[in-house]
Symmetry: D2
């Protein structure tokens, strides 16, 4: 079986494992008061070319829920895409933690359309909740990457209206590798206040970095972590993973690799007349696929998640990871070719 | 420097590390749907001689807050000792998660006195919150271990009144090693509904086991984990640590060792006329100590936490771990001997 | 100035006032343990031809938030119309009280379209919140009244999927008067579990009735009221208002009157070629109106709320109350005729 | 039957009723945007000789929970007396609304002992909740009145440590009448930030005034009211009651009267050798009383609440109201004389 279900079903990377093992043979101060965590913060300051405050967390849901809570306000609304992870796949974590309402917004490919933003300005009406946070997913749940200008087109009006901007960067590295710009250009220079940068799906065991680009806004965050059970004794073990993950630019190389595997699949499918449902701008490929075809693909040894599209149609999500190999992609492409053609169902858009 | 601050500042055990590393070189299904987690559950059923449901969590605070929430009810009170970790050192995690009130109870050595339990029966008064959960710490924050009969003396009236019983077992292994009874005798046979069994402070990297002795009471717990950001992608990594920790009874051997180190220190101090503040029934020794003495002890290379006693007096907490050695204990005893005598302050109770 | 802003800006009805005054000259048992409250419950059982449990509340927001909380479940979703009061005008009260998510649904005239209901069945996915409550507004925020069959078309699939059904009946009496059916036909016979029946906007000073049609589902509701500060000492004063309001069918007569006033306005506007934006099925008339026209209308002495339509266009909401008179309606119609014609803006749909 | 259960079981005062009735015959702007509310605020500014912001609420529990929430902070503790209403009789309302912990403090007669205050200074430990609010009850649940100096002895250290001070003034008027000082001396001059001033138990139908002595601290309070269902349409009806209650100093006259009735009872009991359990400094008298005696008292026509003392002994609470008469008190004293003597149980402290 080859596993294309998600980028968290593969093993962590050898690079991360070999770097953290020696550290595990020594003790370290608990609760984020350690030197490893401080060193990672310094490294992030350099990478993002900005003063920032860093906290490690064990899961992406924790990172999103706590980061948004930290920058939110009472009676607030968090504007997010209707297909975003915080809206669909975190079981209400953001609402429970922040006591804010999630307000789903629309737009193609998982990106919020700036022309379809809900009202951003608090009109002072005591009967209404008020916009407080704009949350963007980079890349989106459908694998698309926001360009810097696209982020600014959303963050500019949001910030003008007094909102804070959160970025769910579970696959930020993939978006960064795809766009090829400086990390600052996709974050603080584009109006992002806090980034939840995911390492778990890109080589770490389980570690996410919360980065506050305005250090003053991070005050009290450790207590928020404690109250939610996320201030671990050996929090330094998460920082250690992130440190290893950043080392020598591994994080970008790994992301570039999984992106390349997705694009390799995309090209091979184009060649046989199958187009993906969304632009392939990271490490995910979505294909229209019937339940029968999906079962056939599984039977041939390719694990994947069948998903339901917003309109109700079925599709398959195929996710590449840091450990996906070219032969695996080629075998997958071969199987897809047989299955989708055999059932007369190659409904992708043909390239012009 | 030798570190006696806590049992979470030492490195994880070699036994756990060597067992989890090979597993990290392979992938596994995410979100607790893996075989490692299922195997650990089976192992716990055997150890506790009871059908049970197991979930792994990353921190003890998360384990306590979620387990208590799961067995609590609306408008409820959680009765706990005034010195308990959930009351003093979790920044309101239980209240935030469960929306219950913590009701501090009294008793010596961190044990709740059965004669000083608050009212347990809900009198139906709509103006009042109602007792819902009794939470016991095993061993207590002061290092004392409840005997089976002591647990029953508390759980019997609680259960008769309809309460559920939670056990914060951060150092349950130490209490088990000290009392020498069957794990069932300190838990379900003594009326405990859910045990939070800590491995982090006894050899694991960071992993706690929540054990529901009534499987039906665990329904929906995974969603509670998800909503609080604790349903990690690689949750199996926590289960893997616990699996290694249980292997060949390592967990009990490690606990017996750290207990023995504490008792060695106790004996050596008794020899020079210094008695600890609380009975040494696990891996912790508390000594009366002035701020000056505490500084002197640090200067001599022995890290420790100075703590304030309920009555306001200063003391030192000295915690042994799975990796504490006899020479370390002996050097500590020597330093304490010099410091406490030199300042004319050996105020422990002399043995008769 | 004549006030058409809302049906809560007029004075309470003389009928209610004259009935409650004598009661206020005597004391009564506090906290809903009084005989007036019990008698009202009995009266409601007769009116709705069903065993039920009644609680009085001071505001509609409290009634909605507490009633929904009572029938909701953990990790739940409350499906409501995008234009509903609980979604738009209660500042997050339902979410704060119930810890559930509000899920906005679509449909014309403030009614949820049965063909556009979100998924109702909990698929067991721990990453997702789950549908728990369907909330309907009767009449809707746009003045339309659900027919019994329309309610069933929504409640049937909801109940089949295990959801509970809440009805925000702030203007239930108006819908009842309009449809002319038995109260049971619009509630429990149509699948409604709990009705929040408003008296405040129809003659009372400030009183709402929460009616649970399944008495077992009301258990613990008094504690929910207490915890939210709604179990008043003189709660019987609210019951007394409701008692007077029900007396001799006053509630239906008052609703029929305000409905008739709205329809009188509608007819007079049709005569001059102006059609309302929504079907007039209760006591509210919505007209397209520019900001300039709205100001002109105010200057002529007719208070009203300018509102923004979902599409962004401006409109005026004109609400009739139990105390609105025919001459007031006729003068309003005259003013509207002048203003809307004068500005060449009579854009209502002409009757065929 | 004469009713001494509480000061909320009697009818509202004729003064309040006759003043509010004419207002109820007219409409008024909803949601606290009315002139009555503004006029009451002005009146309170004069009475308290200080700029302040006023909001009316329907219940004391709502007033306390919302006022404390408004001045509280995240991860906070609210220090209150172990016998206070917010701790014992509001079903967790403060915790639910504020997400703060209530920390019970000790002291005689319901007053917090300044020498037994818990630590007030936030030590910055992220594992701990932090002191945020000090809540005082004036008069206390046991009928004692804080003197100005006693309030300052508590508020001074609290404010120095950065805490805000809340006063639950359900019976503030009684304390004011008893001490005879200026209202400012018991509030802002003594360090009180927000007062919840009760009118319900002293002549109103149901109305409480929240007074913020620092207007800036009231920002957003109306939204808090809305979110909790307390921003009523006819909120002005509550303000109208308070306006009438303040008129011509009625509030103080009514309080002085009920105080006088309590002291009359105390004197008559002293004469026969029966002393109350607590100093009679307002309108409540507590007497030791067995269950048999309590039943006998009820049989003779005197309703009252039997209560359990902190130590477990039984007692009777006898509460005087604005409408209690001298003959009623005298008859009660006579009955008590017979019952307590007859059973050989006149265990009050005899005056020297």
């Amino acid at each position: 079986m080859t596993d294309f279900r998600s980028d968290n079903t593969c093993p962590p990377s050898a690079e991360v494992l070999s770097a953290v093992m020696p550290l595990l043979r020594e003790g370290c101060s608990p609760y984020a008061e350690d030197e490893i965590t401080r060193a990672v913060q310094q490294k992030f300051c350099e990478i993002f070319d900005h003063d920032l405050v860093f906290f490690p967390l064990f899961t992406g849901t924790a990172a999103n829920a706590l980061a948004i809570t930290q920058i939110s306000q009472r009676f607030g609304e968090v504007i997010c895409h209707r297909g975003s992870h915080i809206f669909l796949d975190e079981c209400g974590a953001v609402e429970h933690q922040s006591q804010n309402r999630l307000l789903p917004a629309e737009g193609p490919n998982g990106k919020i359309d700036p022309d379809r933003l809900p009202p951003l300005v608090d009109n002072g009406d005591v009967h209404r909740t008020r916009p407080g946070v704009l949350s963007l997913s980079q890349c989106t749940e459908f694998g698309a990457a926001y360009r810097a200008a696209e982020i600014r087109a959303l963050s500019d009006p949001a910030r003008s209206a007094g909102l804070k901007v959160h970025m769910d960067g579970t696959r930020f590295a993939n978006a960064l590798a795809f766009t090829g710009v400086h990390p600052a250009d996709l974050t603080w220079r584009a109006g992002v206040d806090v980034l939840c940068l995911g390492a778990t799906k890109n080589g770490a065991i389980g570690a996410e970095a919360v980065l506050f680009f305005n250090p003053a806004e991070a005050a009290g965050f450790a207590r928020l972590m404690k109250r939610s059970g996320h201030l671990a004794s050996r929090l330094w073990f998460l920082s250690a993973q992130i440190s290893a993950w950043l080392e020598d630019g591994f994080w970008l190389k790994a992301a570039a690799h999984s992106n390349a595997m997705a694009m390799r699949l995309e090209r091979k499918l184009y060649d046989i007349g199958i187009a993906p449902l969304y632009p392939v701008e990271s490490n995910m490929v979505f294909l229209p696929m019937t339940a029968t075809q999906s079962e056939e693909l599984s039977r041939e040894g390719f694990r994947h998640y069948p998903i339901v599209q917003p309109g109700g149609e079925l599709a398959a999500r195929l996710v590449m990871s840091h450990s996906t190999t070219k032969p695996e992609v080629d075998r997958l492409a071969g199987a897809l070719s047989r299955i989708l053609r055999a059932t007369g169902n190659a409904q992708g858009k043909l390239p012009a």
